[in-house]
C-alpha cells in the first residue's frame, strides 16, 4: 500500500515535471474514431507549433470521450479557469485556436461544445 502511494506520488511528480501545472494544457482526442475524423492532422498542427517555438503549452492525447458526432475534439485547460472544449476541429481551426486562444487567451465561443 505504501509502495503504491509512493509510485503515485512519483508519477504525479513526473507529470508535473513535464510542465503540467505552469501552462495551458491542450488535449487532443485520439481514439480510432477520432483519428478517422481527422484528429491526427489536428495533433500535427499543435506539434508543429510547439516545434516552431510555441511555449507554455502541455500537449497530450486522450481516449474517446464519447462525443462522436463532434469529433475531433480539442480541450484547453488552464489552472483556475473553466476548461474549454472545442468540437469539430479541423487543422485550420487548430491553427486559429493556437493564434487566438493559446497566444491571446481568447475563447472562440462558436466552436465550443
Amino acid at each position: 500500500m505504501d509502495l503504491i502511494r509512493k509510485k503515485r506520488a512519483e508519477a504525479v511528480n513526473r507529470i508535473i515535471s513535464k510542465g503540467y501545472l505552469s501552462t495551458k494544457r491542450v488535449y487532443v482526442g485520439m481514439a480510432t474514431c477520432e483519428i478517422a475524423a481527422g484528429s491526427k492532422e489536428v495533433m500535427a498542427v499543435f506539434q508543429d507549433a510547439i516545434a516552431k517555438g510555441l511555449t507554455d503549452v502541455y500537449l497530450s492525447q486522450k481516449g474517446c470521450a464519447g462525443r462522436c458526432n463532434l469529433e475531433p475534439t480539442v480541450e484547453v485547460v488552464e489552472e483556475g479557469k473553466i476548461p474549454v472544449k472545442y468540437g469539430l476541429v479541423t487543422p485550420e481551426r487548430a491553427r486559429e485556436i493556437i493564434e487566438r486562444h493559446l497566444k491571446k487567451g481568447e475563447v472562440i465561443q462558436e466552436w465550443v461544445i
Binding site: V12, I15, A31, C64, A65
Partner: protein, 597 residues
C-alpha cells in the same frame, strides 16, 4: 460574465435535505433574484449524489465545480464571486474521494455529460491512455495494492458478490458468483480471460474503453487473477482494433516495468501475467466457449454447456471469463466499496451501463448511465432527440441479438429484466435509434443477413433457418411477399430460438420476431399492399412528378437512364419502366415536385 449561462445542480437527496439543503437553495435563489441574474442561470435538482456527509451540495456547470458543506452565508459569496465575477470560490470546493465521475470536472458539456455517471469509462477522455503515470495519478493500481495487501481472495470475491455487479457482455450473469465457482475449483492451473471480441454492428464500447484507459482493464484482470488463484490472463481482442491492441501492448509493457505484472507483483507472493490473443473477427467468437476454442487454436465454434468454463475452460482448466466493461468496473468496486456500488441502479441490476448511442439521434456517442435510467432519458435527454424534426419510431438495443422497441416502451427502465420483459435485451450495449424514415422489415433483414453470415454452421436450425428467414425477408422487401410469410417467419424464428446451441442462434431471430410483434402492420403492408411506408424498399417505390413542377429540367439532366421526359417550362414525367429508382431526380429537384409513392 453575467451574460454567461450557468447550470446549477442542487442535490435534493434526503441526506442533503437533513442538512437544510432546501433552505439553502431558497436563499440562493433569492440571492440570484437580488442580483437579477436568475434568467442567466438554469437550476436542476438531482437525486442523492452519494455525498450525504458533505451536504448541502451544489454543482456549478460549466466546469463541474463541486461545492459542499454549504452554509447560508456562503450563498452571496458564490453568487457574487463565481456567477458574476467568474471566479470559483475555492474555499468551498470539495474534493471527491470516489473514483467515478472525474469526467465532469473537465467539461462544460453538461447537457450531454451531466446526466451520465461514469464508472467504467471514468478515465476515458480524461487521461492519456499511453502514459501509465496518468493512470497512477488517478489512483490507478491502488485497488490492486489494496487487494494484495489487505484482502484475502475470499474477501475480494465477497466484495464483488456484494456489489451486485453482473456481466456486461449481455447475458448478465452475476460476476461474483462466476468468480466464486472458478475459485472453488481445486485445479492449480487456472486462466483469466478478458473478452474484447466486440462484434455487434454499431457497438464500440469496448474499443473506446480500451483505447481510452487500458490499465483499468489490466488492473481488473489482475485482481480477478488474485481472487481465483490464477497466474495467467489472456485478452482476446479482435484484430480489427489495431489501435486498441497497440495501446494494450504498451500498457502491458508499462505495467510489467512498474511491477504490476509479472513475478511477485508489488513485492508480494502473487505472480500474474497477461498476454494478448488476436481474434480474426468472427462474431461467434464473442460466445465464451467458441472464444476458448479459438484461443486453443481450434475452429471458433461453441460447445454445449455444462461444463461451464469456470469448471472446464481453456485447455480444460477452470477459466474466468468476463467482458471488458465488467473488468473496468472492478477497481472502482474495490476502492469505493461494494456498498456504494450497490446503491446505484435498480433492485436487480446494479451500477452503470455503457451504451453506444447511434442512428437517428442528435448526439451520437458513448454514454454511461446508472441502471434504471429510462430509454427516453437516454434518447431525448442525453441524445438530444431525433434530428431534422423527424418522428421517433423505435430503438434497437442489443445488436443482432436484441429487439426493436417502439414508442410505448420508451419509459422502460434500463436493467436486464425490464428490457427482457419489453421484448429486447440489454446486450453488450449497442443502441440504435430509428426514425420514421426507416423501414422495419429492412432493419430486420439487415440483422438476419448479419447473423446468417456469422452463423458458424454447427447447428442446422441456425445455419439453415437464418438462411430461409433471410430469403423470405428479401422477398418481402422486393414486393414478392406472400400471404402466410409472417406466420412462417414466426414459426421458423421460434424453432431457431429453441433448437440452437449458443446465444448467437438462440437470439438470431429476435430482431425479426420483435419487429413482427411491434410493427406487424408494416410487414402486412409490404406483403398485401406492396407498400413500404418509409419509402426505403426501392422495389415498392416509384417516383412521380407532381403538378408543381416548373419544367426546369434539373431532373432530366441528372437521370442516368433517360427516364425523364418533358419540354422546358412544362411538367415533366418519369417513365416507370425505365426508372431504376436511384433517387437522383428527387435530390436534384429544387421545388420538391418529385414525390416518392
Amino acid at each position: 460574465m453575467a451574460d454567461k449561462q450557468y447550470k446549477l445542480t442542487f442535490c435534493d437527496g434526503s441526506g442533503c435535505l437533513k442538512n437544510h439543503a432546501r433552505e439553502f437553495r431558497q436563499l440562493f435563489e433569492e440571492e440570484l433574484r437580488r442580483h437579477q441574474i436568475q434568467q442567466n442561470v438554469q437550476i436542476h435538482l438531482s437525486g442523492c449524489l452519494g455525498m450525504c456527509t458533505k451536504g448541502p451540495i451544489l454543482i456549478v456547470n460549466p466546469g463541474y465545480i463541486l461545492y459542499g458543506n454549504l452554509r447560508s452565508e456562503d450563498a452571496p459569496e458564490i453568487v457574487q464571486e463565481h456567477l458574476i465575477n467568474g471566479k470559483p470560490v475555492s474555499r468551498l470546493i470539495i474534493q471527491e474521494d470516489h473514483l467515478y465521475n472525474r469526467f465532469f470536472r473537465i467539461f462544460g458539456d453538461s447537457e450531454f455529460f451531466g446526466r451520465q455517471m461514469r464508472i467504467a469509462l471514468r478515465n476515458c477522455g480524461v487521461i492519456d491512455p499511453e502514459k501509465i503515470d496518468d493512470y497512477l495519478a488517478m489512483r490507478g493500481y491502488e485497488a490492486l495494492a489494496k487487494v494484495l495487501t489487505e484482502m484475502t481472495p475470499q474477501q475480494v470475491i465477497e466484495e464483488v458478490k456484494k456489489s451486485g455487479l453482473r456481466g456486461r457482455g449481455g447475458a448478465g450473469f452475476p460476476t461474483g458468483l462466476k468468480w466464486e465457482y472458478t475459485a472453488k475449483q481445486s485445479d492449480p492451473e487456472k486462466y483469466v480471460i478478458c473478452n474484447a471480441d466486440e462484434g455487434d454492428p454499431g457497438a464500440f464500447m469496448d474499443r473506446s474503453a480500451i483505447e481510452g484507459d487500458p490499465h483499468t482493464v489490466l488492473e481488473g484482470m489482475i485482481i480477478g487473477g488474485y481472487a481465483i488463484g490464477s497466474r495467467q490472463g489472456i485478452i482476446y481482442i479482435r484484430a480489427e482494433y489495431p489501435l486498441a491492441v497497440q495501446r494494450l501492448k504498451k500498457a502491458i509493457e508499462d505495467a510489467r516495468r512498474e511491477g504490476f505484472l509479472g513475478e511477485r507483483i508489488l513485492g508480494t507472493d502473487f505472480s500474474f501475467d497477461i498476454r494478448i490473443c488476436l481474434g480474426a473477427g468472427a462474431f461467434v467468437c464473442g460466445e465464451e466457449t467458441a472464444l476458448i476454442h479459438s484461443i486453443e487454436g481450434a475452429r471458433g465454434m461453441p460447445r454445449p454447456r455444462p461444463p461451464y468454463p469456470s469448471v472446464s475452460g481453456l485447455f480444460g482448466k477452470p477459466t474466468l471469463i468476463n467482458n471488458v466493461e465488467t473488468w473496468a468496473n472492478i477497481p472502482v468496486i474495490i476502492i469505493d466499496g461494494a456498498d456504494w456500488f450497490s446503491r446505484i441502479g435498480t433492485a436487480t441490476s446494479k451500477g452503470t451501463k455503457v451504451f453506444a448511442l447511434a442512428g437517428k439521434v442528435r448526439n451520437t456517442g458513448l454514454v454511461e448511465v446508472p441502471m434504471g435510467t429510462t430509454l427516453r432519458d437516454i434518447i431525448f435527454g442525453i441524445g438530444g432527440g431525433i434530428p431534422n424534426g423527424k418522428k421517433f419510431k423505435a430503438v434497437q438495443t442489443g445488436g443482432p441479438s436484441g429487439g426493436c422497441l417502439p414508442e410505448k416502451y420508451l419509459d422502460t427502465q434500463i436493467d436486464y429484466e425490464s428490457l427482457a420483459k419489453a421484448g429486447s435485451i440489454m446486450g453488450s450495449g449497442g443502441m440504435i435509434v430509428i426514425d420514421e424514415d426507416s423501414c422495419m422489415v429492412r432493419m430486420a433483414r439487415f440483422f438476419v443477413e448479419f447473423t446468417q453470415d456469422e452463423s458458424c454452421g454447427k447447428c442446422t436450425p441456425c445455419r439453415e433457418g437464418t438462411k430461409r428467414m433471410l430469403e423470405i425477408l428479401t422477398r418481402i422487401t422486393r414486393g414478392q411477399g406472400k400471404p402466410g410469410d409472417i406466420e412462417k417467419l414466426e414459426r421458423l424464428g421460434t424453432m431457431i430460438q429453441k433448437a440452437s446451441l449458443c446465444g448467437l442462434g438462440q437470439s438470431a431471430p429476435n430482431p425479426v420476431l420483435s419487429t413482427i410483434r411491434n410493427f406487424r402492420e408494416e410487414y402486412e403492408e409490404h406483403i398485401h399492399q406492396k407498400k413500404c411506408r418509409a419509402h426505403e424498399c426501392t422495389a415498392l417505390l416509384s417516383f412521380v412528378v407532381q403538378d408543381n413542377c416548373v419544367g426546369c429540367g434539373a431532373c432530366k439532366r441528372v437521370c442516368p437512364v433517360n427516364a425523364v421526359s418533358g419540354n422546358r417550362k412544362e411538367k415533366h414525367s418519369i417513365n416507370p419502366n425505365l426508372c431504376i429508382k436511384c433517387g437522383q431526380c428527387y435530390d436534384a429537384c429544387k421545388f420538391n415536385a418529385i414525390a416518392k409513392v
